[in-house]
Symmetry: D2
């Protein structure tokens, strides 16, 4: 198999890239000039080397020196009594972008469900237990997608966390459900409408 | 202009029907047999005659005899201390379908904004004032779409209603905002995320 | 069942109208004023009465007086040696709109296939035989959709017509296949590309 | 700027990749294990080194040894009297996939128009002249997209080639236009319908 075809096959592994686009990207890449291609490869290798998993929140962060914790976890102005759990790095970034949350995060790294015999294989269960043990939490926010996987993961996490913390002092919450921006009332599904009604304020 | 073309032009006035589909529907209608066409015309005329605007909630309802109020407004098991305002009939039906609301409704009939010089032309303002005057309300729910028009209408209604009711006894609420069912966290817009964070529960 | 609901159920039978849009259209219709509704019903009934099936091409046409043939079939400047077969009225109108065809038409009224045991139930087979018998045709154009149904109908029609006409004097043709306007070469399917290659000119 | 952000910015340059997907791909890449990342970078560099522009048809091909011409151009069973011109590599691959063309190719590398003052900057004009000079061609197929750019490029190429070849012996053709597979007659645009009518067969 020639290099161009091999390249296209690796590009196909990228999330959201089909076989046709993979082929097109392969051509695009080898059509770029030598300098760009070298620089792209170098940037990729640098990013990979540079990036470290924060020992506290498990997100990827570009580390310098001996840093083991990311800039959010080490930021003294963040509220350490709040912990928000997300599935993945981009979810965390999307929340951080709002500027509306000032607590800490934990990236669970996947989804699970009640039927999952070994949830620790899909999500960072032991790291999470470690994180919440002896911590001084007031609230744990389960910030999962409003999908079946998200709901099942949230249910699992809630049940599990309740066995690990003092539920008298730690509140476990979920992101609010209701009308998302732009929704026309006429087209709202039954579930969302029910949530919007019960969550009226 | 022949009848088929005239028919297609009237069908074009229907909401959401383009010129091509209007033509197709015109052919469809004249291809149906005589009985069906007669029955369709008759049903349309009957529905138009039968339908009345409820004097209490302003929704259209199929009336029999001398009824002036619809079956929701005259249902003794509905909670008369709650009034939910919607823009249009289909919004009301969509809420009713959830089975999660047992109060009464009021159909304002349109949208308005602070800049609208004569809001009474776009929405049923006087009928609304009449409806809430001397009523024994505990809560008014503003159930507008989560769009710019919906938001501006809700703001206008809230301001206006606050001048007409005793705000110590009547609470004015809005439908809850947040993640709608099916939303993936990665793709949530900033506004919705903020609402989901502040409305966490 | 009330008139409004009955109306919505009849609107659901319209091609391309779902249950939600049917409900919305029903509300739209009864919200229109009395005059408009009366005029719509009258136009529908007029169009239905006025419209006749052309005894020659089988298309619907708005007839006046005793006319039994449509304005295309009776137009002396059309080329009577060419007959173009379409599935339905709107296909004919779409071809007529191009101004690029000056022969006559025949609306077969449906699709069929080799497996269809009684094709005369799906398409106007006897009327077609009648139409081509003793006619002075030079070419029959099979103008069916480039879909499986269209292709199978075209194959059936070709085979059938070949048994009814003198194939030495009558040519049977199909619409040209190839790139449709706006097609980017990169995204063309295999079939279309083969047709575009073999039909190059 | 950290490596991860730099990587996301380079990924944004990829055709068809938006800022959000670029960020997601960057995380994806640095989350893959070290071996995979190294292998991806190596494959990219290999593909870039290996790939050569065929001196005959100008397409990219994975070269071994001193090869200057690609496996199509050097294939003795291809018909050297036919030359098909495409805009880009993936167009060529899409045609090759049909197995319906056995002549040679030439990749012009872009699009141009009559208004373009220096077409040689957008397309490989001199290389094309070189290619057709002294060649023993019978047919040149202009296989451009059925878009405005494609049409204008085809017109330019036809005019230009006619000044360089003996038009008595060399035929210049275009891909056939008409219904593409899956097209329903009712929805065909005017242009395509005209082409389908004039190209009937």
């Amino acid at each position: 198999m020639d290099g161009l075809t091999q390249l296209a096959e690796l590009l196909r592994e990228f999330p959201g890239i089909g076989p046709r686009q993979a082929r097109r990207l392969a051509f695009y890449l080898v059509r770029r000039d030598r300098n760009w291609v070298d620089s792209f490869a170098k940037t990729l290798l640098t990013a990979k080397s540079e990036v470290r998993t924060c020992t506290s929140c498990m997100r990827l962060f570009p580390a310098t020196g001996d840093a083991v914790d990311c800039n959010i976890c080490t930021n003294p102005s963040r509220d350490t009594a709040m912990l928000l759990l997300v599935e993945k790095d981009v979810d965390l970034e999307n929340i951080e972008r709002t500027g509306a949350y000032s607590g800490l995060y934990f990236v669970v790294g996947g989804t699970t469900s009640a039927l999952d015999k070994d949830p620790a294989r899909s999500i960072r269960l032991r790291e999470l237990e470690q994180r919440i043990k002896n911590s001084d939490l007031r609230e744990v926010v389960l910030a999962l997608s409003a999908t079946t996987e998200g709901d099942e993961t949230a249910t699992f996490l809630r049940d599990h966390i309740e066995t690990k913390v003092d539920t008298k002092t730690v509140t476990i919450t979920h992101l609010g459900r209701g009308l998302s921006t732009g929704t026309e009332l006429e087209y709202v599904d039954k579930d969302t409408m029910r949530n919007a009604l019960s969550g009226r304020n």
